[in-house]
Amino acid sequence: MTSRAMIEAWVLLVAMSAATTALTFVEILGRSRMVIAAGVLVLAGLKARIILSRYLQLHNSRFWTRAFDLAIGGFLLLSFGLYAIATGP
């Protein structure tokens, strides 16, 4: 992994963090809380994937990349389900 690849990963992480903040402003404007919550959790999953594949260098292992994708994806789906139960339509 090169320094350039790490810096690209960092730019993506900063952009996604900014997008997450932007989504919370959209929420203030009255958009659907469910859509906002889904967007926030998807961005969290994408950020986690970048940290695992680039910073933690799992990009060379298809097995571990898929295993973490499944585990974190399952965690975020369960989180969204619990959020939806509490929040309602």
Binding site: M1, T2, S3, M6, I7, A9, W10, L13, V14, S17, T20, T21, T24, E27, R33, A37, V40, L41, L43, A44, K47, A48, I51, L52, R54, Y55, L56, Q57, L58, N60, S61, F63, W64, A71, I72, F75, L76, L78, S79, L82, Y83, I85, A86, T87
Partner: protein
């Protein structure tokens, strides 16, 4: 994987014999720790959301008292410190020890910035009379973010140690711990601070 370059052939051979476990970069025990920590924080966050389901209005009211901006700033601080730790490992693999140490100190320094922002957050809550027993929301908030902050402190100590004992393997292992702290935060922050 660049992290395995320069290792002894016997080490590489042993990794080949481990199957998929050998595909994990760096120290295997650090991966056991990373997965264990992810499970612990994941269980805590699921418990937080499950209890939230029993009192969504109370949790929403308490959550409004949190400062999202401070949390967002700390996200930027941690992902930037993660970059510094990653650049330290690359510099060390290329034999640039002084540069590697500089990146490690930058990563640790940003960790200190994270803790200062977090301390300010706790201080303002205490000034408002909000403590760990104020409500179920704040019990989870203090336990989960406090446990994470303790990992940041441990990470700063580990980064200082691997800056001193700066073999490639030590630096990879220390940086991996730091990235785990970063990874936990990007999952913790939206669930505790942002989902309303």
């Amino acid at each position: 994987m660049s992290g395995t370059l320069g290792k002894l052939p016997s080490d590489r051979q042993a990794r080949d014999e481990w199957g998929v476990l050998g595909e994990l970069p760096g120290d295997l025990m650090m991966w056991v720790l990373i997965i264990s920590e992810l499970l612990v924080f994941g269980a805590a966050l699921i418990a937080f959301l499950a209890v939230r389901a029993s009192d969504p209005q109370g949790f929403a009211a308490d959550q409004l008292l949190l400062d999202r901006t401070e949390g967002a700033v700390n996200t930027m601080v941690l992902v930037t410190s993660g970059l510094c730790a990653a650049l330290a490992v690359i510099a060390r693999e290329n034999g640039r020890r002084r540069t590697a140490r500089g990146w490690l100190f930058a990563a640790g320094g940003l960790g200190v910035v994270f803790l200062i922002v977090k301390a300010g957050e706790y201080w303002s809550k205490a000034a408002d009379g909000i403590g760990i027993e104020t409500s179920p929301f704040f019990t989870f908030y203090y336990l989960i973010t406090g446990f994470h902050a303790a990992h940041v402190v441990a990470g700063i100590v580990i980064l200082a140690l691997v800056a001193w004992a700066d073999s490639v393997r030590n630096m990879e292992t220390g940086a991996a711990f730091w990235h785990m702290v970063d990874l936990v935060w990007v999952l913790l922050f939206p669930i505790i601070y942002l989902l309303r």
